[in-house]
Symmetry: C2
Subunit: 143 residues, 2 copies
Amino acid sequence: MRISTKGRYALRLMLDLAENNTGEPVRLKDVAKRQGISDKYLEQIISVLNKAGYVKSVRGPMGGYILSMEPSEYTAGMILRLTEGSLSPVDCAEEQGICEREDACATQILWKKISDAVSDVVDHVTLEDLLEWQESSRDNYCI
Amino acid sequence: MRISTKGRYALRLMLDLAENNTGEPVRLKDVAKRQGISDKYLEQIISVLNKAGYVKSVRGPMGGYILSMEPSEYTAGMILRLTEGSLSPVDCAEEQGICEREDACATQILWKKISDAVSDVVDHVTLEDLLEWQESSRDNYCI
DNA sequence: CCTTAATCCTAGTTTTTAACTATGAATTGT
DNA sequence: ACAATTCATAGTTAAAAACTAGGATTAAGG
């Protein structure tokens, strides 16, 4: 029932872009350093976000990435579904006709409830919310 | 974000024991056949449920397994946590001190929300609920 | 134009986990 | 004694996750 590093890193990546948004593109190498994540791995992850239009890229020196929308316009669900694939605990909870037992399987109802509960959370948390949480937790962060 | 076969099979196994509870022990082989699951694999899964005291075992011929409590006393959460390990999307959401970034990481709050939402579902669905759903879906099951 | 710093693209590798499979010992009803 | 069951442990296979590597492409600055 784990969320993979792809999804988690993608969220932190987007959050980092939001935090460091000065209008200028942000270098991926800097994000990688700040977040302590391999930059080569981040390249793959942001490629997906880029193709989906969630970020804009600028190539060449002084290049990097910028969010293409306001933080409030991204939900965690958008980012996680894009990078994780699906957030459903089982296949049969999101699509019909996969399981030949589905007419006689009560557990499917449970999976659907779980799936809905997860969606309800991630679809109502935006990047802006994360930013706010980040800032308020920053206050009690002593280094 | 998937639930593994261990957890899913364990639920179906417990549900099968509940459905076929006549007071006599139920043979694992029969469960395996009904559910279409390898009996050797089920052996491993029920071993965990047995050690936790969720089922009682009877060895030898005419042996098998029986639920040790009423269906209403088992929640899906009990069964899934036992067989799946944890239902949390990330480690840092259930235990503190794992992530050295936790004081400055807003995503942790999101993971905790997801974790709580999932718990809220699975801790309020009992085996008895599953039994009822099973019976009502049986009605529109034509074979 | 040339160098350099960035993104882009694809393929390969390693590690971990999931999902069984196999073998045989222990137990017990007939 | 025999046969049917659970019990215990180890081994195997397949798939997915988590990176790693190498080079192509683009564009700013001198």
